[in-house]
């Protein structure tokens, strides 16, 4: 079962890479665009930190670590599940969703496997550079257990991103086009790049309990810095992941049931 899907994914990916090779410059420009977007955020921090020693109790390198960490789950999700944007925007309006229901594979897998978004490397490259440099500057020691934990929370964070996107994209099954509401919720992820403490209490509450972007970066990243304990950082992240995914996938399944094709 799993191997079948892996083989299928490779086939989808190969098709996608052929398209990519056709439009090489577009790909490089797209990647560079996302790269620069994130770089401007870092330059902003550099300019600001020339004037203050610490921000709300966080040093420059700690902030960079959180900022860089935040790019990783965001980038991973962006790389694999970009088609959810099209689901919310036009796949359902045009009745194109029929196609996914007719094939003998899981429709969600099919939808996701169809698009591979290399623009995401812009975010991933920034994230990796920041995380590696800030780890060495902060003198964090990474044991094998820490590395495994890192990978684990990264996967959880990516699933949280995907779940939030899936949940709001699935609204399109009822309202036909849910791209604007998806855009609004996705924009909230911008709050995740900085320490949660700088926000007002209601914003902190939303980020933790309602749209749990705080678990994609701030909590796990602060755990590695040693400012949040393991229960909250790892346990909390795991619970947030399971709950978000369960809610999102159920909504998706209900949505498929409610789906009416655009008939003629």
């Amino acid at each position: 079962m799993f191997r079948k899907y892996l083989r299928l994914y490779k086939k989808f990916l190969a098709q996608y890479l052929k398209i990519l090779m056709e439009y090489k410059t577009d790909f490089i420009i797209g990647l560079f665009g996302f790269f620069v977007v994130q770089i401007t955020g870092i330059v902003f921090l550099c300019l600001v930190f020339q004037r203050i020693p610490t921000l709300n109790g966080w040093s420059f390198n700690e902030i960079l670590f959180i900022y860089g960490f935040a790019q990783l789950p965001r980038g991973i999700d962006h790389l694999f599940t970009d088609n959810l944007w099209l689901l919310s925007g036009r796949i359902i309006v045009r009745g194109d969703f029929d196609r996914y229901l007719l094939r003998p594979i899981n429709p969600l897998f099919h939808l996701i496997a169809e698009v591979f978004q290399p623009d995401a490397f812009g975010e991933l490259i920034v994230g990796i550079i920041l995380v590696i440099t800030s780890i060495s500057k902060l003198h964090l020691t990474f044991t094998l257990l820490n590395v495994l934990t890192f990978v684990f929370v990264l996967i959880c964070g990516s699933i949280i991103y995907t779940s939030i996107k899936l949940f709001f994209a699935s609204f399109a099954f009822w309202v036909k086009n849910s791209q604007s509401i998806l855009f609004v919720t996705y924009s909230i992820s911008d709050f995740a790049k900085y320490p949660l403490g700088i926000y007002s209490k209601p914003v902190q509450g939303i980020m933790t309990f309602i749209i749990p972007f705080a678990f994609t970066a701030f909590f796990p990243a602060s755990y590695f810095i040693g400012k949040v304990n393991a229960q909250v950082a790892i346990g909390g992240t795991f619970i947030a992941t399971v709950i978000s995914f369960a809610i999102a996938y159920t909504t998706w399944l209900l949505g498929i049931k409610a789906y009416e094709s655009a008939g003629n």
Binding site: Y23, T25, D26, F27, I29, G30, L31, F32, G33, F34, V36, V37, T40, V43, F44, L47, V48, R51, I52, P53, T54, L55, N56, G57, D119, N177, Q179, S180, I181, F183, V184, Y186, S187, I188, D190, F191, K193, Y194, G197, I198, Y199, S200, V203
Partner: protein, 275 residues
């Protein structure tokens, strides 16, 4: 005058139809504006934390209160003047509909100007003014701060209009790149990121190193955001104010000539297949 009213009669419907289109898709429009506005709040909280962490009460000449006004006025300025002319030109080039627009007896650039103006009026009236009023009311009820005098507001509006023209012409030139490249989506993303940075939308230009500030003062980008906001904050006065407004006007002329030149070049090498 007769000539002008006749022209206005021809082109005004383009402004009107854009406003009507935005009105019919208002739910989507306001959701997207709201999504972008959330980013303003991130910046707001960030600056608050920065000022609380700082030992001095001013940073690069800004107090926290001034910075808060800067953030929100800068945001409503950016929302008011934004247009997607570059994306529109890109699409028309890609699907060939630009050919139809070339054979019509209307000036393509003027048509787009009126379209952007429609967008501007709509965004200004339905987004900028409500946010501005909310800001004024919040400031008055929390710290008894009054809005700036009417003269300052008029100067701000003048500078805002000049910023609108600058961004329009810049986007027009940028959109013409679609004649040469295909990846406009990524390119526009890149442009947006750089513009928000060097126009002062993300961070006041006063925070940059001096040599960089000097360079940016000579370029047209600060005209799109930094200049109007600084006028609103009364940080530009006297000779400096006149000089900055003059820079804005000079750049409109320069960008206009660049856009004519790029347009003529693009039209010469345009080939449209079929028909």
């Amino acid at each position: 005058m007769n000539y002008l009213t006749r022209k206005l009669h021809i082109y005004w419907p383009f402004s009107k139809s854009i406003m009507q289109a935005m009105m019919s898709y208002r739910v989507n429009f306001f959701m997207f504006v709201f999504g972008n506005f959330l980013k303003t709040f991130v910046v707001y909280y960030l600056w608050k934390a920065v000022f609380y962490s700082s030992t001095s009460s001013t940073l690069s000449g800004f107090t926290l209160q001034e910075m808060i006004i800067y953030i929100f006025i800068s945001s409503i300025t950016a929302i008011a003047i934004s247009n997607n002319i570059d994306g529109l030109i890109g699409e028309e080039v890609r699907d060939g509909s630009i050919a139809m627009n070339l054979i019509r007896p209307i000036n393509y650039q003027v048509r787009l100007l009126f379209q952007s103006f429609g967008t501007f009026v709509y965004q200004f009236a339905f987004v900028s003014i409500p946010i501005w009023l909310a800001l004024i009311i919040t400031r008055y009820t929390s710290i008894k701060e009054l809005p700036p005098d009417i003269g300052t507001i008029l100067l701000f509006l003048l500078s805002l209009m000049l910023g609108f023209m600058t961004l329009f012409l810049f986007n027009f030139c940028f959109g013409l790149l679609a004649f040469h490249v295909t990846g406009m989506w990524g390119l526009r993303n890149l442009k947006r990121a750089i513009l928000s940075f060097i126009s002062g939308e993300l961070i006041p230009i006063a925070f940059f190193p001096l040599w960089f500030q000097k360079g940016l003062r000579l370029l047209p980008f600060s005209s799109m955001n930094y200049t109007p906001v600084m006028i609103y904050l009364k940080k530009l006065t006297g000779a400096e104010l006149i000089q900055t407004l003059a820079t804005q006007i000079v750049w409109i002329f320069i960008l206009f000539f660049i856009s004519r030149w790029m347009w003529n070049k693009a039209i010469k090498h345009l080939t449209i297949l079929g028909g």
